[in-house]
């Protein structure tokens, strides 16, 4: 993709982010941080490419380490979000 297309996606996504995040209820701000943390680990994509492709051994090991770190975040982040969200209940009286 050329730089301008990428930039367009980025700018539009910032606007989407702005409106979506303002609509998040303050009661769920902690789960919001946990889940944003999990999804920002999509950076694992970069680690996977480095680990998968031949060409540089050092890059491969850096990539594998990045995959481990990002996986901790992905699994940990989604799991802890799920655990928190399961606690938000409305009790019927």
């Amino acid at each position: 993709m050329d730089f301008i297309s990428i930039l367009s996606i980025f700018v539009l996504a910032c606007f989407v982010g702005y409106y979506v995040v303002w609509s998040v209820t303050p009661a769920l701000h902690t789960p919001l941080m946990a889940v944003t943390n999990a999804i920002s680990s999509v950076i694992i994509v970069g680690g996977l490419i480095a680990a998968a492709e031949a060409g540089s051994d050092v890059a491969k090991w850096l990539g594998l380490l990045a995959v481990v770190l990002a996986s901790v975040n992905i699994f940990g982040g989604f799991a802890v979000t799920e655990r928190m969200l399961a606690m938000y209940k409305k009790k019927d009286k």
Binding site: V35, I39, A52, L62, L64, L69, S71
Partner: protein, 484 residues
């Protein structure tokens, strides 16, 4: 319809097939839906599932589109990460959520640094080579910025983690001339990034990328050490934002829409949370970042002697009696409730009162606790129904009709000095109008501590205030016992 375009390669750069680019776009949209779900507790879990699905799509697409020589090693790496992550997520106490989140942020930051370096060392794998067989200058700027933001996120989050978990003092550490050092280091990072981008040839530009990585690690450390414990909600939100911008910068380098969309979402999310936190403290973002707030003032080195003012102290039995007589009680929890782990006892007290026909509501200040929404999670953990929990602006007008304002572990957020005393460090911060309630119960460990802002609180000395001096959990348990 002719779908052959799906198999075509993208124009220039990496040979990512069109279907894969669409898959990354779908992953990005799923991440938007994950955040959208959080607009209400009822839809939040569906949202989280969208997030998981989006991540699975992104990972599988990447694996399928690359010639994987090391699938076994990659599988092991993911497996190790999964075991560690899930174990931490299961074991962590809800009161420790802020340090877990800070710790997770540091991992994203470090992963960004590693990916940036891997892309530098093996640009061919990422489709970054231009016709001349070198990395283009634009790619190098993106790479340099990605590494720098990642490194700042890493070292900053490590300090935030140490402060939040109590492994390092929460009070600000002030270096002389720190503003000049910090601005100088930031300027150096920008100059190094420019020189890195401008210098062709891997041998010639290697020193620049090494130096910028090191400088970024140092600045992350320097930026967070002068910031005190009470400002941690802003810091955690800010680092959340940085981790997003780091992912976005890497997305630019790799031309990956899932990473760019996610980075933009997370970046704006953290920025908005920082803004909400700053506004709730009536402080500017710059003043928080400059640090030094909440410096230890209890030493009394200013020669200022606080006058001893009379206050009323009550027992659990007194409190229990008056709570039972009340029609409406508003509970204001703060960080002290988290420290004392009093949320379960508090829920029990609520149940007993509700059985007796007393209306109980919870009032949460945006900066209560150590991260945004901290109190809400603890109350949810203790099984308090979320429709009884209210935000500052939604409940503040109700104090005039409340019989009891029950303050547990909060202090600055009920201090009327924020409304009246222009010289107070917390002046202008929105606070709860507890002075309008008929009675105020204030659970506090002792009369000594005066909140993080280090200011005295007139609420202690009001006629209608009863101080309940004890550990929060013990006091609430005794109140519950006394009501039976």
């Amino acid at each position: 319809m002719n779908l052959s375009f799906l198999a075509a390669g993208a124009e220039g750069g990496a040979a990512t097939p069109a279907w894969a680019m669409l898959a990354y776009l779908v992953a990005g949209i799923f991440f938007i839906l994950a955040l959208r779900g959080l607009s209400s507790p009822a839809t939040s879990r569906t949202g989280n599932r969208f997030g998981m699905a989006g991540m699975a799509i992104a990972v599988i697409t990447t694996l399928v589109t690359h010639s994987i020589a090391n699938i076994a090693e990659i599988g092991i790496a993911i497996f190790i990460g999964a075991i560690i992550g899930v174990t931490m997520a299961r074991r962590i106490a809800m009161t420790s959520m802020p340090e877990l989140v800070a710790g997770f942020h540091s991992l994203v930051g470090l992963a960004a640094v590693l990916v940036g370096w891997a892309a530098y060392l093996n640009p061919g794998a990422f489709g970054l080579l231009t016709d001349g067989g070198a990395i283009g200058p634009v790619s190098k700027i993106e790479m340099g910025l990605g590494i720098a933001i990642g490194a700042i996120t890493f070292s900053g989050s490590v300090i935030a983690f140490l402060k939040l978990s109590g492994k390092m003092s929460g009070s600000p550490i002030m270096l002389p001339g720190r503003h000049i050092i910090n601005l100088g280091t930031l300027a150096a990072i920008l100059v190094l990034t420019a020189m890195f981008a401008h210098t062709p040839g891997a041998d010639a530009n290697l020193p620049f990328i090494v130096a910028l990585t090191i400088a970024a690690f140092i600045i992350g450390f320097l930026l967070i050490i002068p910031i005190g414990g009470a400002d941690m909600p802003v810091v955690v939100s800010m680092l959340n934002s940085y981790s997003g911008w780091a992912a976005a910068a890497m997305g630019f380098t790799l031309g990956n829409s899932a990473m760019i969309i996610t980075g933009a979402l997370v970046g704006s999310s953290g920025a908005i949370l920082s803004y909400i936190m700053c506004k709730a403290m009536n402080r500017s973002f710059i003043s928080v970042i400059a640090g030094g707030f909440g410096a230890d003032s209890s030493g009394g080195g200013n020669g200022e002697v606080r006058e001893q003012r009379p206050y009323k102290q009550g027992s659990a039995a007194d409190a229990a009696f008056m709570l039972e007589q009340a029609e409406k009680v508003i509970v204001i929890p703060g960080y002290g409730m988290a420290v004392a782990q009093a949320q379960h006892a508090l829920r029990e007290m609520t149940d007993v009162l509700e059985e007796k026909g007393v209306e109980v509501k919870f009032a949460i200040h945006p900066v209560a606790g150590r991260m945004p929404g901290h109190m809400n999670v603890l109350l949810a953990e203790a099984n308090v129904s979320y429709d009884k929990v209210f935000e500052l602006e939604d409940i503040n007008s109700e104090f005039a009709q409340a019989d009891v304002a029950f303050i547990i572990g909060a202090n600055d957020v009920v201090n009327p000095a924020a409304k009246t005393d222009k010289s107070s460090p917390i002046y202008g911060m929105p606070v709860f109008d507890v002075d309008k309630a008929k009675q105020v119960f204030f659970i506090k460990r002792s009369m000594g501590g005066v909140g993080y802002a280090g200011v005295d609180n007139d609420v202690f000395y009001m006629d209608q205030t009863m101080m309940l001096l004890s550990d929060a959990k013990k006091m609430v348990e005794e109140i519950v016992k006394a009501m039976d």
